[in-house]
């Protein structure tokens, strides 16, 4: 009996291997010798006691404006090693952001700069303790800066304090947190506004719309929803947000919520979802309700995942707000590098987002963003 069980186990494992593709592999970079001289520009670190909200920051600047203001990346022969610490490699978005860090490091190296970036992630978005251990370990290794995207508002706090005690700045990428010395990432309020403006044009400035929200605990949910709602309140009260419900970022739950929306509000013209996965679930509900996508009703997502791209090409999802995770990572690394070599970077830098629909979904990210590689002095 036992032998049989063992045999079955082996079979199952091999089966898994055969079926499974391989996970992501991450390019490794050598540690690099640390430059002991700390940048003299900032000696005081952000306090973890003060609430930091990038949207409240007055001298926040968009990435495009920042490049225009600062011009080329100024000369420096200092040697840096950055540590990336992202939420979860299970999520493709975070793999892309990490690739973006590497992308900038490669370009910097090609321009003769001494920069290495090494990115790690905990075991999924519920491994809050694991992320803290990684952060503390990165601090112990003595990196020059940490690019951090914490799972929750508070899970990395002790590590952030430890970094500051060791004179290591901690930069927030994509997700803000208290104690961040700088924030680089998309403006999630603006994402909601962009979506609202697009919907307004599409449905001719009149009608009922609904929102499918993500988990209530994250700021992204609040901001994207609020941006969408407030745009209509300020610009066009003829469009009414008749329903908004939480679907926990879950495709199946989003489908269920939307099915009820469609029955309760038969005149619904558009559904804005806080992310693409939920939008794809809503698309299924619309199909089942025998409504015509992009004619009777528009479904809009957020994030710009590849599955959303395919759905837009197939004429199902109407649009997504893409924050171009690879370039977001690239820009974050660039901005942090500029900060480290002493260029005058404000505390908040918003990375660009674009509305992607059938008209521009087949263009490259570079075209949609109007991307240009940075210049080095």
């Amino acid at each position: 009996m036992k032998r049989k069980v063992a045999l079955l186990l082996c079979l199952a494992l091999t089966g898994t291997m055969v079926l499974g593709g391989c996970g992501s592999s991450k390019g490794d970079s050598d540690g690099g010798e640390k430059d002991a001289s700390k940048d003299s520009q900032k000696t005081k670190w952000a306090s973890t006691d003060e609430t930091f909200n990038p949207l409240d920051e007055k001298d926040a600047i968009s990435f495009e404006d920042l490049r225009e203001k600062l011009g080329a990346i100024s000369k420096s022969d200092k040697e840096f090693s950055f540590a990336g610490n992202v939420k979860a490699f299970e999520n493709v978005v975070w793999q892309e952001i990490a690739n973006g860090y590497e992308g900038f490091a490669d370009d910097a190296k090609a321009a003769g700069r001494k920069l290495t970036v090494d990115t790690t992630s905990p075991m999924g978005e519920s491994d809050e303790e694991g992320q803290l251990s990684i952060l503390k370990d990165q601090v112990r290794q003595g990196v020059n800066a940490v690019l951090l995207s914490p799972i929750s508002d508070a899970n990395c706090l002790p590590g952030i304090e430890a970094a500051h005690d060791a004179d290591i700045p901690v930069f927030a990428v994509n997700n803000e947190f208290n104690g961040a010395d700088m924030f680089v990432g998309p403006n999630s309020l603006e994402q909601g506004e962009i979506a609202a403006e697009w919907v307004n044009d599409k449905i001719g400035g009149k009608g009922e719309v609904a929102i499918v929200m993500g988990m209530a605990k994250t700021g992204v949910t609040r901001n994207r929803t609020e941006g969408f709602e407030s745009w209509f309140k300020e610009n066009n009260p003829d469009i009414e947000v008749v329903a908004k419900q939480n679907a926990d970022w879950d495709r199946s739950k989003a489908k269920d919520v939307a099915a009820t929306f469609l029955k309760t509000y038969p005149d619904l013209k558009a559904v804005f979802c806080n992310n693409d996965v939920m939008a794809l679930g809503v698309v299924e509900a619309v199909k089942e309700a025998n409504l015509e996508l992009n004619k009777d009703i528009y479904v809009i997502g957020c994030d710009g995942q590849s599955e959303a791209y395919d759905s837009i090409r197939a004429g199902e999802m109407a649009a997504t707000i893409d924050s171009f995770p690879y370039y977001e990572g690239y820009m974050a690394a660039e901005v942090c590098y500029r900060w480290m070599i002493g260029q005058d970077v404000p505390k908040v830098v918003f990375t660009p987002c674009r509305m992607l629909d059938s008209t521009n979904v087949d263009k490259t990210a570079e075209e949609n963003l109007g991307w240009e590689a940075p210049t080095f002095e």
Binding site: G20, E90, R251, K263
Partner: protein, 326 residues
């Protein structure tokens, strides 16, 4: 007549769950009359099916006095495995059979951990939960499985008459089979007996390990089915599917009268429990209740529903005592 009375009595717990369900439907219909439309009522069933499959499975594990926290991840493994097979062109019915086999296999592992290795079910299935989630990610490399063929989706999504989907029929069939096994077969008798008093059952010469393993097998097969239905509903197989669904399944079982102490519970009650949860969720959406209040409302209803059982037991206890005196 006597027979009818007897059967009503033996189903009294299910009847009260049914009354609770009707009560919820009446309340929401008064607030929002469109709640009572046939298509909406059928939505309650449709949206309760996935949880229903999970819950009838988990009921089997709970009746033995155990628990299975791995059903959400078992569901994910079933989603991605069946998704890959369906995309590879394997005939849909074969995919379903493989899925069920996979569920049975996962259940046997859980059962062996709990019986032969004597691990606490809570901890053992917490462990397999993590292992299975990892396997689900590995199978797809973290990406979703796209473009599930229509032939596969149709097995569960096909509507016989409008609003009546195959998935609902499959749930009814599976519930009947599970009920039959639990109530009419020796296996079921022993599963209940193990939950009531494992030592006594063992001492009377029953191979308790064998029947416990069977209970966990039934449990994971329910989860596998939930995964296959989800795959058909969404047309995409995500390795993240079913995350956190185990708690809803356990809640459905508890509302339906399954005692977490073991030895008590029924498939019919659990299905009604799952329907109560989806009736509630849809009701709160239809009346447009704010998300934050929904968490509170859902929690309160679970507490009230389970408390009703406590009250009912007391009441029926009083009645039976009176009878004896008379």
């Amino acid at each position: 007549m006597e027979k009818l009375k007897k059967s009503i009595k033996s189903y009294s717990r299910e009847l009260s769950t049914l009354l609770a369900l009707l009560f919820i439907i009446v309340i929401f219909s008064i607030i929002a009359p469109r709640y009572l439309e046939i298509s909406n009522l059928m939505d309650i069933v449709e949206q309760g099916t996935v949880n229903g499959f999970l819950a009838i499975g988990v009921t089997c594990a709970i009746i033995t006095g155990g628990i299975d926290l791995s059903v959400g991840s078992a569901m994910a493994v079933s989603i991605v495995t069946c998704g890959r097979l369906a995309v590879a062109g394997v005939p849909p019915l074969v995919v379903v059979l493989v899925g069920l086999g996979l569920g049975a296999f996962i259940g046997i592992i859980n059962g062996v951990l709990v019986t032969k290795m004597k691990l606490q079910p809570f901890i053992a299935t917490m462990g397999t939960n993590s292992v299975l989630r990892g396997i689900a990610y590995l199978i797809t490399g973290g990406w979703p499985v796209l473009n599930i063929p229509k032939e596969y989706r149709e097995i569960f999504q096909y509507s016989i008459v409008p609003n009546l989907r195959m998935s609902m029929i499959v749930l009814v069939l599976m519930s009947i089979v599970y009920s039959f096994v639990l109530k009419k077969r020796k296996t079921g008798v022993y599963i209940y007996a193990i939950g009531s008093n494992e030592e006594a059952t063992k001492l009377s010469g029953v191979n308790t390990d064998k029947f416990k393993i069977m209970a966990y097998m039934l449990c994971s097969m329910g989860a596998a089915m939930a995964g296959m239905v989800t795959l058909a509903r969404l047309g995409t197989g995500e390795p993240t599917g079913g995350e956190g669904y185990e708690l809803n399944a356990i809640a459905a079982a508890a509302i339906g009268g399954t005692s977490l102490a073991g030895g008590k519970g029924s498939i019919l009650g659990t299905v009604l429990g799952a329907l109560i949860l989806s009736a509630l969720k849809i009701g709160l959406v239809v009346v447009g209740m704010d998300t934050f209040y929904q968490y509170i409302a859902t929690g309160l209803i679970i507490i009230v529903a389970v408390y009703l059982e406590v009250v009912q037991q007391k009441v029926s206890g009083i009645f039976s005592k009176k009878k004896k005196i008379a």
